[in-house]
């Protein structure tokens, strides 16, 4: 297995783990962190594809896409945190409500 394949598998694992975390965690801040883990997986994927060793120059197009992705991830995280703040201010908690087996909402 080459180094690139190892990075790609790690990237996929990060992505799926992050997705699991987003779906599983009721606390909104943890959802946000899991979303960031997913983004990190994607960035690792792009960087692994862009790197070509020390002899050849790195591929600039996926490289540039990662930079764009990082900025967008920052914007989305900041906006998500603001939404979490609003939820906290409005409802008093930053968690999604627990569910009872008998409730109808």
């Amino acid at each position: 297995m080459t180094a690139m394949q190892l990075y790609l598998i790690t990237a996929v694992a990060l992505f799926v783990l992050g997705l699991y975390g987003v779906l599983i965690r009721p606390h909104l801040l943890r959802k946000m962190t899991a979303l960031n883990v997913m983004s990190s997986g994607l960035f690792l994927l792009f960087v692994a594809v862009a790197y070509r060793g020390s002899a050849e120059p790195a591929d600039p197009v996926p490289h540039a896409m990662v930079l764009t992705g990082i900025v967008i991830s920052v914007s989305a995280t900041a906006f998500g945190l603001l939404l979490i703040r609003r939820v906290l201010e409005t409802t008093g908690r930053a968690e999604l409500p627990m569910e009872d087996a008998g409730r109808n909402d």
Partner: protein
């Protein structure tokens, strides 16, 4: 079934894992199909870099060959800043006396950060750097000043103008180049170096202010939900920020 209080019950959790396993398998199969030596676009970029106005392949890709993506990226960042002003309209922490250690540190750091940001912006033409990197260095300086109580943000018109200016200049140059050459973001003739520099400098400032706004709005005092937006009648509507 007993009424268990849980966000996701045990059965649903197992089902979720079982549902994610095919996704994991598919993605792993997909990355196995990436060839060992993927085609390298660096040669294509190097062949056309003399037309791009800069000498670094990454800046050429970001600001020229795929400038459209960068324009939309700045739009996303601006939208986040706008959303910050909309979602958290509470008053920001007032200016206060900074801690003396922080004040001393800032006295040394602030000029260094400004100069570093300026250098990184200029160096983007021939080394890794450019608008976003320099904007974030400048934004970090502004955030430090905000933490130290030296800056208190008020969401006035000039702040909003500063946030939008980066995107506005980019779109203006895009439309201008469209009118001049018939293609969006195809910089006419020999103006590419100048256009890229103009876009990058204004964008760096806007990015710094957007990052400051995002940080400031996240830490602003909570406003009561029933009180109407109180900052529309700020005392000095002409200045977006105060500086010591």
């Amino acid at each position: 079934m007993p009424a268990t209080r849980a966000y996701i019950g045990r059965v649903q959790r197992v089902l979720l894992v079982l549902g994610l396993l095919p996704l994991l398998a598919t993605l792993l199969l997909a990355v196995r199909s990436v060839p060992a030596r993927p085609p390298n676009l660096a040669n294509l970029v190097a062949a056309r870099m003399h037309e791009s106005g800069v000498t670094h392949p990454l800046t050429a890709v970001l600001l020229n060959f795929r400038g459209y993506d960068t324009m939309l990226e700045i739009a996303v960042l601006w939208l986040a800043g706008l959303g910050a002003l909309a979602l958290a309209p509470g008053p920001s922490a007032p200016r206060h006396r900074p801690h003396p250690v922080l004040a001393g540190l800032l006295r040394v750091l602030a000029p260094a950060l400004v100069m570093t940001a300026g250098y990184i912006l200029w160096a983007g033409g021939f080394r890794p750097g450019g608008a976003f990197q320099s904007g974030s260095v400048l934004g970090a300086g502004l955030v430090l000043a905000s933490l130290g109580g030296m800056i208190s943000l008020r969401p006035t018109f000039s702040l909003r103008l500063g946030l939008a200016l980066g995107l506005a200049v980019f779109v203006g140059i895009a439309v201008g180049s469209w009118r001049a050459t018939g293609e969006l973001l195809h910089y006419p003739g020999a103006t590419d170096k100048f256009s890229i520099l103009a876009i990058e400098s204004v964008a760096a400032l806007s990015i710094a202010f957007i990052l400051l706004t995002l940080f400031d709005r996240l830490t602003a005092a909570a406003e009561s939900v029933t009180k109407p937006h109180a900052n529309a009648h700020a005392a000095t509507p002409h200045r977006g920020e105060e500086r010591s």
